[in-house]
């Protein structure tokens, strides 16, 4: 076996040295009848050459199409140096930095990540990462319940459907009540319909929302705060933070989201990286790891895991969360991405997204039989009203080499003729024009 250094002879010698006659003897504490009498029924071991052929074949079964899919997972450019850096063994074959003297590389990178998440979200403190945006939101809600000691939360209908499902799973088992706030005909969450009261722990707002629409977070924050509730802002398209007023500036108490857009591969939905930011006054209620600055006896600066008394390995059932392993390497991808794109690049990416999405949306709206479903401002995604059910358009154009968008019928009753289209800096004008030509087709068929 190529991954076990000790040869059969060496293993035999070691057994002899420790005074054991057979390897089976080492497993004698397992009742005899529970020990397998035969090998597991698994495929036989494959050589590296065979594995290469096998995985190339499986990967090739995924179609290579021009994509206008977003909906929480975005196709942005990833600088090559991200993979160069995260492929350093010192980063990817190490673990949680429990021993700071020999983990300063990881610790400093997390401190830098925490700083940049604070800068982008407009918050005071950010943790070292959560599993993804959806679980970060569920944890934010549990945190709001702990802080306010109230047990009801308000969620927007325009929240990402997977996030809704995840939150529902967490809330049900925790005995927390949730209610939904509808969206208006403009696609914006209806602030007037937010009935926060003294039992409401938190009001959630996603911006840009699932339809790509930029929400008025400040207006929702006012509603929440008037009832003494916390405002939780969710961001699934992190690139938008480079252009839009930060949730913190709009009055959010907790900002969570999906950091995938910052240099993490689409990867069929994971691993991605959840970010979690809040205010200093709530930091002791936060879930997850926090890295802080510290000094050694000679005055040298370093970084350590801090405020660990919130965490499960110390507080056990009284911990602020059960999270342990999080998304370290994806967090590092984001840190490298943010450092490489930097202050100027982030804004340029965001502007290109707005320009290309606007070009696509305007062009599609001019097509006969199509129009934009909502009239509120959007970032890089928008909903198109389609002349025939959108899932049919998606299937047909997929066979012609284009993933046109996400058909919304399976997520929202009544939106069968609605297509969520995402355009990023990765989509060329030619691709957009091809999409428009493809869509034109269906109108002509009517």
């Amino acid at each position: 076996m190529r991954y076990v250094p000790n040869s059969a002879e060496e293993r035999a010698k070691m057994l002899e040295e420790i005074g054991v006659t057979s390897i089976e003897e080492l497993f004698s504490s397992i009742p005899e009848h529970l020990r397998l009498k035969k090998l597991l029924d698994l495929p036989p071991a494959r050589s590296e050459a065979e594995l290469i052929i096998f995985f190339k074949e499986v990967a090739a079964k995924n179609a290579n199409l021009v994509s206008f899919l977003g909906a929480g997972v975005y196709n942005h450019f990833r600088p090559i140096i991200i993979d160069t850096i995260i492929s350093r063994s010192e980063f990817y074959t190490t673990y949680t930095p429990y021993q700071p003297e020999i983990a300063q590389g990881t610790l400093q990178a997390i401190f830098e990540y925490q700083t940049m998440i604070c800068q982008l979200t407009g918050m005071e403190v950010a943790n070292a990462s959560m599993y993804d945006g959806s679980t970060a939101l569920a944890e934010a809600l549990l945190m709001a319940v702990r802080i306010t000691k109230r047990r009801k939360v308000l969620l927007p209908q325009a929240l990402h459907p997977d996030y809704r499902q995840v939150v529902e799973t967490y809330m049900k088992r925790g005995g927390i009540v949730y209610e939904y706030v509808p969206f208006s005909i403009s696609g914006i969450t209806n602030a007037d319909a937010i009935a926060a009261d003294t039992s409401t722990a938190a009001v959630v707002i996603q911006s840009p929302n699932f339809f790509g629409i930029i929400e008025d977070i400040s207006a929702v924050a006012e509603k929440a705060h008037a009832a003494g509730s916390l405002l939780i802002a969710v961001v699934t398209e992190a690139i938008s933070l480079a252009l839009l007023k930060s949730p913190g500036e709009c009055g959010a108490d907790i900002v969570v989201g999906e950091g995938q857009s910052f240099g993490v591969p689409v990867g069929f939905g994971g691993p991605h990286v959840g970010f979690f930011a809040s205010k200093t006054k709530f930091q002791r209620q936060m879930p997850g790891r926090l890295i802080g600055q510290a000094y050694d006896a000679t005055g040298k600066r370093g970084f350590v895991i801090t405020l660990a008394t919130r965490e499960q390995h110390i507080r056990r059932e009284k911990a602020s969360s059960n999270i342990c392993t999080n998304q370290g390497l994806c967090m590092l991808m984001s840190t490298v991405y943010l450092a490489t794109m930097g202050r100027r690049g982030l804004r340029e990416v965001a502007l290109q997204n707005v320009a290309k999405a606007t070009y696509a949306a305007r062009s599609i709206a001019e097509l006969q039989g199509y129009k934009l479903m909502f009239d509120a401002p959007f970032f890089n995604e928008f909903v198109v009203k389609t002349p025939i059910p959108a899932d049919q358009i998606v299937e047909r154009l997929a066979s012609e080499g284009i993933l046109a968008g996400v058909a919304l019928g399976r997520f929202y009753g009544g939106l069968e003729n609605a297509l969520l289209v995402c355009v990023t800096e990765q989509n060329t004008r030619q691709q957009i024009d091809d999409l428009i030509a493809g869509l034109r087709h269906f109108a002509e068929e009517q």
């Binding site: 991954y3 250094p5 000790n6 420790i18 005074g19 080492l26 397992i30 009742p31 397998l36 090998l39 597991l40 029924d41 036989p44 499986v58 990967a59 995924n62 290579n64 899919l69 196709n75 600088p79 350093r88 010192e90 980063f91 990817y92 673990y95 930095p97 429990y98 003297e101 020999i102 300063q104 590389g105 990881t106 401190f111 679980t135 997977d162 995840v166 799973t169 925790g174 007023k245 069929f268 939905g269 691993p271 000094y295 050694d296 000679t298 370093g302 405020l307 660990a308 056990r316 059932e317 059960n322 999270i323 392993t325 390497l329 202050r343 290109q352 707005v354 320009a355 606007t358 800096e425």
Partner: protein, 497 residues
């Protein structure tokens, strides 16, 4: 330093924070020119919704700046590719490079979770394979690969137990957890709305059957048991334990963090457990990544199968598709379908080992742990010295009389070129040093570790201060963690410069 055989000193470069390195006007990127009309965001979005800070504070760096920055940081880390990383219960084994190659195939990295099933058959096949392979390895009826990490899997498992009991009419109030359990167990049970009651271990370090008998009543939803437990001991009475819990209407959750001691030798499904999670970043060699991403698939018995999170991947003829039609499902625990690219790595690993390789790994891992225990037993106390499996828990009892604690021994190990073991855990062992060598260590590396540990024990006796002030070879000394927690500085501010 002559007695230290494994390492010698090496230059280590200083490196400021990104923000301190930043210089106005430096750029490290170039985008293709915009090929559609430029848009003023004020026109389409409106200035009220736009930020006006010009992203001040974010770094401005060239590409070589960024590369040097992070490569310098990387040299400050210890890693499994550099040497033995014996963190107990973390299974820091070798991460095969073919796994990394497979997970970076563009067909996988660019497949989109919202694409039609027909366009992602390759990704669905990987998920299906992962489900099937893990079913066989655990001997359970069904598997979900959605949970993102071990603790997430625990939560998912307890939610399923709760859903099952609720369906039967009574969710019950609490979960029993042995005092040797990982801290995530109680924290996960609490998220699912359960109170936690601790079960003491018996003199041998195993679950105390008499205590279980006493506490297992109709208010108890189930038992969370790590097997082998965190002392590295197999719970010999596992069948009686399962039987007792079942007879009284509860279910058994097995924490599979230590599956590296069992794969190919025995199967949880044959022991009577109802649900377990596995940590693919431990047993199945996917990299720990400096703290994730992991993956925590959950395997269940037929009783709990209806409650698995949606969706599962099923095979129909030669096609793979998602199955959302599961009315009793607890719902979703994570957006999309789990840490997919981690699954690619794990599947690659299992296929590279085959059934005989998997079994050999387990044997080699258990042999390595026993080899260490054998050679260090007379130097360091092993408080629960039973039939050790994949890991061994020492204590600092013999060294404490010289004023040297486990934390000092750990720091001194760094000078000898090793990552320290897991410290002060499990909680039932005062001054614990929990060592898991894994199958990836050669006898030569194990011998160096044994030498180092014996040498440190001698130093503790002859020159305790030498050990108490370690490490000496690192770029920074012990950090003042108390001050850091009292006045936390959790981000950089411009004023710090």
């Amino acid at each position: 330093m002559e007695k230290i055989k494994k390492v010698s000193r090496h230059i280590t470069q200083n490196e400021p924070l990104l923000f301190e390195r930043s210089r106005p006007g430096a750029v490290g990127y170039k985008l293709p020119p915009l090929d559609v009309p430029a848009i003023e965001p004020q026109e389409v979005i409106g200035s009220k919704l736009l930020r006006n800070d010009d992203l001040e504070g974010l770094p401005e760096l060239s590409e070589p700046d960024v590369v040097r920055h992070f490569i310098r940081l990387s040299t400050w880390n210890y890693a499994t590719d550099l040497g033995m990383f014996p963190l107990g219960s973390c299974t820091m084994k070798y991460n095969p490079k073919i796994n990394e190659w497979a997970a970076r195939l563009e067909g996988f990295t660019e497949s989109h979770p919202m694409a039609p099933e027909s366009a992602v058959q390759g990704s669905l096949e990987i998920i299906y394979l992962a489900q099937e392979l893990l079913k066989e390895i655990t001997g359970m009826a069904a598997v979900t690969v959605q949970p993102a990490a071990g603790a997430h899997g625990e939560m998912t498992g307890i939610m399923m137990i709760r859903a099952h009991l609720e369906k039967q009419g009574n969710a019950r109030k609490k979960v029993l957890i042995p005092d040797s359990a990982h801290g995530t167990n109680p924290a996960s049970a609490v998220i699912c709305g359960y109170a936690v009651e601790t079960i003491p271990s018996d003199k041998r370090g195993l679950t105390d059957l008499a205590e279980l008998e006493k506490r297992m009543d109709d208010t108890v939803a189930g038992l969370m048991l790590t097997n082998p437990n965190t002392l590295g001991l197999f719970e010999e009475n596992i069948e009686q334990i399962c039987k007792l819990v079942h007879e009284r209407g509860g279910l058994v959750y097995m924490d599979g963090a230590n599956m590296n001691a069992l794969c190919g030798i025995t199967r949880p499904g044959d022991m009577g457990v109802d649900v377990l999670h596995m940590n693919l970043h431990k047993t199945m060699s996917t990299p720990h990544g400096g703290g994730g991403p992991g993956a925590g698939p959950v395997a269940v018995s037929a009783t709990l199968e209806p409650y698995l999170p949606v969706p599962l991947v099923v095979k129909q003829g030669e096609q793979f598709r998602f199955d959302y039609d599961r009315p009793d499902s607890i719902g979703r625990v994570k957006a999309f379908y789990g840490n997919f690219l981690v699954l690619v790595r794990a599947v690659c690993y299992i296929l590279s080992l085959g059934p005989d390789g998997l079994k050999l790994n387990t044997e080699a891992a258990v042999l390595n742990a026993n080899y260490l225990a054998h050679h260090l037993r007379n130097t360091y106390e092993i408080p629960y010295d039973g039939k050790i499996m994949h890991e061994v828990v020492f204590s600092d009892k013999n060294q404490l009389k010289y004023g040297v604690r486990n934390g000092d021994i750990a720091k001194r190990l760094i000078d000898y070129g090793f990552h320290p073991p897991t410290m002060s855990f499990p909680l039932i062992v005062p001054g614990a040093l929990m060592v898991e060598p894994t199958e990836s260590e050669s006898r030569q590396e194990l011998d160096l570790f044994i030498d180092a540990m014996k040498s440190i024990a001698r130093e503790a006796e002859e020159n305790p201060d030498l050990v108490k002030n370690a490490p000496y070879s690192t770029r920074i000394g012990r950090l003042d963690e108390v001050s850091a927690a009292r006045n936390p500085i959790l981000r950089w501010h411009p004023s710090q410069e």
